[in-house]
C-alpha cells in the first residue's frame, strides 16, 4: 500500500498542527509589528519563510514575550481550549485601542480522536495558504489608518472557562474599538486547526 505509506509519512499530528499555528502567529505578529511601525525598523531582521521575506524583531524583550505567550498557546491548542488570539494595538498615552488583529481558531476533523488525530493535508499546501495570508497582512498598510502616535501591543487569548491561568498572566477586558470597521483576510487550515485572520480598525469620519 504505497499510498497509505505516503500518507503516514506526511501526516500532521495535533501537536504538529499546533506548531504550525504558533509559527504562523509568530511570523504574523512580527510582520504586523513591523508593518504598522510600532517599533523602529532597525529592530527588525529579514528571515525567509513560506517563500517570503518576513521581518522579525530582534528586540529581546519582544522575542521573549512572544516565546512565552506562544508556548503557552501551543499547550492550549493541543488541549483545544483556545478560541481566539487577539493582537491589540493601543495608544500608549490614551490607552485607546487603535487596532485589533483577530486570529480565530476552529477545530476541524475528528476531534474525538484526541491527541492521535492526524491530518494528511500536504505541508506544502498549508504553507502556501499561510503565505497568502501573510501577503494580505503586508498589503493591509494600504488601507489601514496611519498610527501617528506612540503605540504598544498586547496579546489576548480567548479560552474556554476551565483553563488554569499561568503565573504572570491576567484576565483582561475585551478590546473594543469605537466606530470599527473590519477586514477579513484569507483563512488557512491544517485540517485539524483552521485559522481565520481579521483586522479591525477605527473608521474615522
Amino acid at each position: 500500500m504505497t499510498t497509505a505509506a505516503v500518507k503516514n509519512k506526511s501526516a500532521i499530528t495535533l501537536k504538529g498542527s499546533s506548531d504550525i499555528l504558533c509559527d504562523y502567529l509568530n511570523y504574523g505578529i512580527n510582520s504586523i509589528l513591523f508593518q504598522r511601525g510600532l517599533y523602529p525598523s532597525e529592530d527588525f531582521q529579514a528571515t525567509e519563510n513560506y517563500g517570503l521575506n518576513i521581518l522579525m524583531s530582534t528586540n529581546n524583550k519582544i522575542k521573549e514575550f512572544l516565546a512565552t505567550t506562544l508556548g503557552q498557546l501551543k499547550e492550549w491548542l493541543i488541549k483545544r481550549t483556545v478560541n481566539r488570539v487577539a493582537l491589540i494595538i493601543t495608544n500608549v498615552k490614551t490607552l485607546e485601542v487603535m487596532e485589533r488583529w483577530d486570529f480565530t481558531i476552529e477545530y476541524e476533523g475528528n476531534i474525538e480522536d484526541g491527541e492521535a488525530q492526524t491530518s494528511d493535508k500536504p505541508l506544502k499546501q498549508i504553507k502556501n495558504e499561510i503565505r497568502d495570508v501573510l501577503r494580505q497582512i503586508a498589503s493591509s498598510v494600504s488601507y489601514l489608518p496611519l498610527l501617528d502616535c506612540l503605540c504598544s501591543f498586547d496579546i489576548q487569548i480567548y479560552t474556554t472557562n476551565d483553563v488554569e491561568l499561568p503565573e504572570k498572566w491576567a484576565l483582561a477586558e475585551p478590546a473594543n474599538i469605537k466606530n470599527a470597521q473590519s477586514v477579513k483576510m484569507r483563512s488557512f487550515s491544517t485540517q485539524i486547526h483552521k485559522m481565520d485572520t481579521a483586522v479591525t480598525y477605527r473608521n474615522e469620519d
Partner: protein
C-alpha cells in the same frame, strides 16, 4: 478581500480607507460594471455640488473629496481630486463661515500636504487666521518641523496652539508631549534615529517609500525642502503679513516646477514669426474693409499671393458660407445675407435696396419686387449654367470687398498705378508687354460694375483681390490675339513662375476665358456703347454688366469659391486648352451663344435693379426673357458637357487624363446645384435613385465631389431618421460618461486609431448595450450615407446583415460620431494573426470559407452599385452566428463609391494608396471601378491562405500572378484560377458568380465539410480568449 495584488496601486491615507469602498474601487479597475457605477456616483456628487442650495456648501464638497479619495485609491489623475480640492479651497478661502471649520481644516491639511514647502503655507494660514482653533492644524504644522528635526520650532507651534486653546485640547497636549519624547529619542539615539524619522516621515506624509525616486509635484519630500529652513533664526516668528490668497501663493510655488524645459537654440523661431505676422496683417486689413491700407502697406517683395500651398485648399464658403463659431461675431447680418443660403447670397447693398424699395410704396416698384421673387427662386441654376460655357468668371468677384463702385474704381486705379510695377517685375517679361489698352479698360470697367459681396468672402481669400486685378489683365492679353488656338507654351512659363499660388492662377485662368469668350459673343458690340459714356452712373453699370456677358452680378461667393477649388496646381496649363474647348464650342453654337448672352443681359439687369439702380422698364424686359432662358439653358448644359467629352477624346489625346479631370471638376461644380434642383422634386416623390452625374470625375474621393454628391442626394434626405445634429466636438474620454446629443455613453476603451478617426468601445447607457463609436474629425457624412444606402438597397437581402449597421450618427460641423454594433471577436486580421501564431495545420479550409464569405459580401454590395474601395482583412469583422459558425461583416465605408451617382460604366483613374492593396488596374494605369474591390478580396484571401501580404508580378504573357508559391496541400487549380481571375480584370470586373460557385462546391466536399466545423470552433475559442 484581495488587496495584496494591487497594494502598490493604493495610496495610503492618514485616516485609513473604507474596505468596502476600496474593494469596489479596486474591482472597478478591471470591471466595467463597477466603472459605470463609480462614474454614476461621481456624476451624482458633481450634480449635488452644482445644484446645492443650502447654507453649507462646503458639506457637498467635503463629502465629494472624501469619496473621491476612497473611490480612486491611486490618488492619480483619474479622480482629479487635486483640482477639485483646489477649487473648493479657493471658493471658501475667504468665507467667514468656514474660518474655523474642522472639515475645512482637514481639507487644508490635505492640500498643503501636496506641496514641497508646507511650512510656508501653514504660516500663511496662521497669518490669515484660518483654522487656528483646531489641534489638527498645529499637529500637522508641527509635524513638518519635527520631521526635519527642528524641535524648537515644532515646540513653538504647539505653544502657539495652546495659546489659542485649540480643540481638542487634550490631543494637542498629548502631541506636544510626544514631541518631547521624540526630541529626547532623537538626542539619545542621534543619527541612528534619523532613519526612523525618515520612515515615519514617509508614512505620515503618505508618500511612497522612496521619496527620491517617485518624487513629483504632488508628493512632498518634506525632508529636502525643510532643511532649507533649518538655518533660519531659532526663534520662530509665527506671524507675517497675510497673503491675499494662499491658493495663489501655493500655485506660484508650484509653477516654476512645471517649467523644466531645457534651454536650447531657438534660431528658427524669429523667422517663422515674421512670416506669420506678415500673413496676419494682410488678412486683417482685408477683414476690416479698409481698401487703401493693404495696397500701400505691401512691401515690394511680397509674393503674388502667398507661398502656401493651396492645392487642397477647401473654401469654407462652398457649402457653409461662414461656419457658426462661438468665438466669432460676424460683422454683417449673416441670417439675411444667407437667407436663401444654398441658392443665393445677398450683398449688403442688395439688402439695403430691398429695404429701400419696400419703403417706397409705388405700384411700379411693387412689380419689380415681384419679379425679383421669381428670380430668386429660379435664377441660381440658370446663372450657374450660364457661367459654365464661358468657364469661370469669378475672378471679378474678387472685387467684392468694395461696397460701392466708386470705391472699387479707386482701388483699381491704385492697383494699376502702384502695385502693378512690382508685380510685373516679378513675372517673366512676356507679360510686361501686356499693355493692351482696350483690354485694360475692359477690366477696369468690368470690375467696377460688380456688385458688392459679403465681406466674409475676403476673410477666406485674404490677399487674393489685389493680385488678381492685375493678373487677370495680363493674362487676358496673352489670350487675346490668338483667340482660338491656345498658347500652350506661353501659358506654361507663366505658371511656372507663379507655381505655388493656385488660388490666384485659378482665378486668372477663369478670367482668360471670360475675356477670350467675349469677342466670340454676339453681344460684344453692346459693350462699346456703355463704355463710351463711362461716367460711373448707375445705369451705365447695368448696361455694362449685361453687355459683357458676365453673370457676376448674380455670382455668389459660393460659386466663386467653388471655382477656386477647381483650379488646382497643375490645371492652369490645361485651362488654356480648356478655354479653347469652350471657345470651339462657342463657335459651334454661335446662335445659342448669342441668345445666351442676351439672356444674360436681361437677367443681370434684373438683378442689378434689385440694388435700386435701374429703371423699371429694363427690369420688366428682363423678366420677360427669363423664363424661356431657363429651359433653354438646361438643354444646353447637357449638350455642352457631352461635347466636352467627345471633343477631348477625339482631338486631345495627349493630355486626356488631366483635361478630363479639369473639365470634370468644372462641370461638376457648376452643374451640381442645377442638377440637384432638378432632381429634388423627383426624389421626394419616390425616394429612390438620384439621377447620376453626366460625367465621370477622375477622383471619386475628392472631398468637393463628395460634398456635391451629398448635396445631390440632399443628405441626410431619406436617412434623416438616425441622423442627429449636435453641436461642437464631443470629447470622448476613457472611463467616463460622455453625452453625445441626448444620449449618454460610457466610454470603455479605445479599440483603434486610424488616419481618419478613432474607434472606441462604449456602453450605451440607455439601452445598456455595448457599441462601437467611430469618432471622426472632420465629420464623415459620406460613410453614414453609404452605410444607410447599403442597408436600404439590400433590404430583405439575406446578406444585408453582413454590412456595418450605423444605429445612430451624430454630426456637428467639427466632428461626427457613428454608433454601430460592437463585435466581440475582432477583425479578420485578428483571426489571421491567431492562425499564424498558433500554426494551425492546413488552414486552407478556413481560407476557403472566409474567401467565399468575402466574395458573397462583395458581390451583394456590387449588385447595389457600391464600391467599398478599402477592402482589407482589418475591415472585415468576425461575427459569431447562432448556428456556431462564423460570418464576416464589412465595415469602414469611408472610402466607398456610390456608383449609382455616376453614369453607368463609369471608371476612375485616380490611384489608390493602401499599401499591398493597390489593384493591378492602377499599376497598369488602366481605369478602374469594381475591379479594386475584387482585387482586394484576392489580396485578403492571400493573407488568409499564406499569412502574408500579396506580392504580385507580371509573367511573360503580361498577366499578373502572385509572387508566392501556393502551399503544397492547397487546392492549387482552384486558387490559381481565383487569383488569375481577380488579378487580371483587363476585360472588365471578374465574374464573381463563377468563383463563388467553385468555392462553394469545394467546401461542400465531405472531407472539407467535416474538418471545417472543427476548425471554426477552435478559432472561435481562440478569438474569445484573445
Amino acid at each position: 478581500m484581495d488587496f495584496d495584488l494591487s497594494k502598490e496601486n493604493i495610496q495610503p491615507l492618514r485616516r485609513g480607507r473604507n474596505a468596502q469602498q476600496l474593494e469596489i474601487a479596486i474591482q472597478a479597475q478591471s470591471n466595467p460594471e463597477y466603472q459605470v457605477q463609480l462614474a454614476l456616483q461621481k456624476e451624482h456628487f458633481e450634480m449635488l455640488i452644482r445644484t446645492y442650495q443650502g447654507d453649507d456648501p462646503l458639506e457637498t464638497y467635503y463629502n465629494y473629496i472624501m469619496w473621491l479619495e476612497q473611490a480612486y485609491p491611486k490618488n492619480g489623475h483619474e479622480g482629479n481630486s487635486d483640482a477639485l480640492l483646489e477649487r473648493c479651497l479657493q471658493q471658501f478661502e475667504d468665507d467667514p463661515r468656514y474660518r474655523n471649520d474642522l472639515r475645512f481644516c482637514k481639507l487644508w491639511i490635505k492640500y498643503i500636504d501636496k506641496f514641497p514647502n508646507p511650512v510656508e503655507l501653514y504660516m500663511m494660514m496662521k497669518s490669515k487666521n484660518l483654522c487656528t482653533g483646531w489641534a489638527d492644524f498645529y499637529k500637522a504644522w508641527a509635524y513638518y518641523y519635527e520631521a526635519a528635526g527642528d524641535f524648537a520650532k515644532a515646540n513653538s507651534v504647539f505653544q502657539e496652539g495652546k495659546k489659542n486653546l485649540a480643540q481638542p485640547y487634550e490631543e494637542l497636549e498629548i502631541a506636544h508631549k510626544n514631541l518631547f519624547v521624540a526630541a529626547g529619542e532623537h538626542v539619545v539615539y542621534g543619527p541612528n534615529k534619523l532613519r526612523l524619522n525618515e520612515r515615519r516621515t514617509a508614512l505620515t506624509s503618505l508618500t511612497p517609500y522612496e521619496p527620491d525616486k517617485t518624487h513629483s509635484i504632488q508628493l512632498p519630500t518634506s525632508n529636502r525642502s525643510l532643511f532649507v529652513y533649518e538655518d533660519q533664526a531659532t526663534s520662530l516668528s509665527l506671524d507675517g503679513a497675510a497673503p491675499r490668497s494662499i491658493i495663489t501663493a501655493a500655485k506660484r510655488q508650484e509653477a516654476p516646477k512645471e517649467n523644466t524645459i531645457k534651454p536650447g537654440p531657438w534660431t528658427t523661431v524669429p523667422q517663422k514669426k515674421q512670416l506669420l505676422a506678415s500673413f496676419k496683417s494682410n488678412a486683417f486689413a482685408i477683414l476690416e474693409d479698409e481698401q487703401d491700407v493693404p495696397v500701400g502697406c505691401l512691401p515690394p517683395n511680397v509674393p503674388n499671393s502667398c507661398l502656401e500651398n493651396y492645392s487642397d485648399y477647401h473654401c469654407p464658403l462652398f457649402n457653409h458660407p461662414d461656419p457658426d463659431r462661438p468665438d466669432v461675431v460676424f460683422g454683417y447680418p449673416k441670417h439675411r445675407v444667407y437667407a436663401e443660403y444654398p441658392n443665393k447670397e445677398y450683398s449688403i447693398e442688395e439688402l439695403r435696396a430691398l429695404r429701400y424699395q419696400r419703403r417706397k410704396i409705388e405700384p411700379l416698384n411693387l412689380f419689380v419686387d415681384h419679379s425679383e421673387e421669381v428670380i430668386v427662386i429660379q435664377d441660381p441654376p440658370i446663372l450657374q449654367q450660364q457661367q459654365e460655357p464661358s468657364a469661370v468668371l469669378d475672378p471679378v468677384a474678387f472685387g467684392s470687398p468694395w461696397k460701392s463702385t466708386m470705391e472699387h474704381q479707386n482701388f483699381l486705379q491704385d492697383v494699376f498705378s502702384k502695385s502693378n510695377e512690382h508685380r510685373i517685375s516679378a513675372l517673366p517679361p512676356k507679360f510686361v508687354i501686356a499693355e493692351d489698352s482696350p483690354c485694360r479698360q475692359d477690366v477696369q470697367q468690368k470690375n467696377p460694375f460688380l456688385l458688392t459681396f459679403s465681406p466674409q468672402d475676403n476673410q477666406s481669400l485674404q490677399q487674393a483681390p489685389r493680385c488678381d486685378a492685375f493678373n487677370i489683365f495680363e493674362q487676358s492679353d496673352q489670350e487675346f490675339p490668338p483667340l482660338a488656338p491656345p498658347k500652350g507654351n506661353a501659358m506654361k512659363t507663366a505658371f511656372r513662375t507663379l507655381n505655388a499660388d493656385e488660388v490666384e492662377t485659378g482665378s486668372r485662368g477663369g478670367m482668360d476665358v471670360a475675356t477670350a469668350a467675349q469677342p466670340a459673343d454676339g453681344a460684344r458690340p453692346m459693350t462699346v456703347a456703355p463704355f463710351s459714356d463711362s461716367s460711373s452712373s448707375s445705369c451705365h453699370d447695368d448696361m455694362d454688366d449685361g453687355a459683357v456677358g458676365f453673370d457676376e452680378s448674380c455670382l455668389d461667393t459660393q460659386q466663386f469659391h467653388f471655382n477656386l477649388n477647381v483650379m488646382k496646381v497643375s490645371t492652369p496649363q490645361n485651362k488654356g486648352q480648356a478655354t479653347a474647348v469652350v471657345k470651339e464650342e462657342e463657335k459651334l453654337m454661335n446662335t445659342k451663344k448669342a441668345l445666351f448672352s442676351e439672356n444674360n443681359k436681361g437677367l443681370s439687369t434684373i438683378f442689378e435693379e434689385k440694388s435700386g439702380y435701374t429703371s423699371s422698364s429694363l427690369s420688366s424686359g428682363g423678366t420677360a426673357t427669363k423664363s424661356s432662358v431657363y429651359g433653354f439653358n438646361q438643354n444646353k448644359i447637357s449638350t455642352i458637357s457631352e461635347e466636352h467629352n467627345s471633343y477631348l477624346e477625339q482631338n486631345m489625346k495627349a493630355n486626356e487624363a488631366l483635361r478630363r479631370s479639369l473639365l470634370g471638376n468644372l462641370m461638376e461644380d457648376v452643374l451640381s446645384p442645377a442638377a440637384s434642383i432638378q432632381t429634388q422634386p423627383r426624389k421626394r416623390e419616390q425616394l429612390e435613385r438620384v439621377t447620376p452625374l453626366h460625367y465621370i470625375p477622375s477622383d471619386p474621393f475628392n472631398p468637393q465631389l463628395i460634398e456635391s454628391l451629398l448635396d445631390r442626394v440632399s443628405f441626410p434626405g431619406v436617412h434623416a431618421q438616425d441622423y442627429v445634429e449636435i453641436k461642437g466636438n464631443p470629447r470622448l474620454v476613457k472611463k467616463e460618461i460622455v453625452n453625445i446629443g441626448r444620449d449618454s455613453y460610457f466610454v470603455d476603451n479605445m479599440l483603434g486609431r486610424g488616419q481618419f478617426g478613432t474607434i472606441y468601445k462604449a456602453t450605451d447607457m440607455d439601452k445598456s448595450c455595448v457599441v462601437a463609436l467611430k469618432h471622426q474629425k472632420p465629420p464623415n457624412k459620406w460613410e453614414y450615407y453609404i452605410c444607410k444606402e447599403i442597408k436600404a438597397r439590400l433590404r430583405g437581402h439575406p446578406l444585408s446583415d453582413r454590412f456595418m449597421e450605423v444605429s445612430v450618427g451624430y454630426f456637428s460641423k467639427q466632428a461626427s460620431v457613428l454608433v454601430s454594433q460592437f463585435e466581440q471577436l475582432g477583425s479578420l486580421l485578428d483571426a489571421i494573426n491567431i492562425l499564424k501564431k498558433n500554426v494551425m495545420k492546413n488552414t486552407e479550409n478556413l481560407a476557403l470559407y472566409f474567401t467565399l464569405q468575402m466574395l458573397q459580401i462583395v458581390k451583394a454590395m456590387h449588385e447595389v452599385q457600391i464600391i467599398h474601395g478599402d477592402i482589407k482583412p482589418d475591415n472585415f469583422l468576425v461575427v459569431h452566428l447562432s448556428n456556431n459558425t462564423l460570418s464576416l461583416k464589412l465595415i469602414d465605408f469611408g472610402r466607398s463609391i456610390d456608383m449609382a451617382l455616376f453614369p453607368t460604366g463609369a471608371n476612375f483613374t485616380c490611384p489608390i494608396t493602401t499599401e499591398d492593396f493597390i489593384c493591378c488596374e492602377v499599376r497598369d494605369g488602366r481605369p478602374w471601378s469594381y475591379h479594386t474591390d475584387i482585387f482586394c478580396v484576392a489580396a485578403s484571401a492571400h493573407v488568409l491562405l499564406l499569412h502574408d501580404y500579396m506580392q504580385t508580378r507580371k509573367d511573360k504573357t503580361g498577366l499578373w500572378t502572385i509572387a508566392m508559391r501556393l502551399p503544397r496541400y492547397a487546392k492549387a487549380d482552384l486558387w490559381a484560377d481565383f487569383f488569375a481571375a481577380c488579378l487580371n480584370q483587363q476585360s472588365g470586373p471578374a465574374n464573381l458568380d463563377q468563383l463563388e460557385a467553385r468555392f462553394e462546391t469545394e467546401l461542400k466536399t465531405q472531407q472539407r465539410h467535416n474538418s471545417l466545423q472543427l476548425q471554426l470552433n477552435s478559432i472561435i475559442n481562440m478569438l474569445r480568449k484573445r
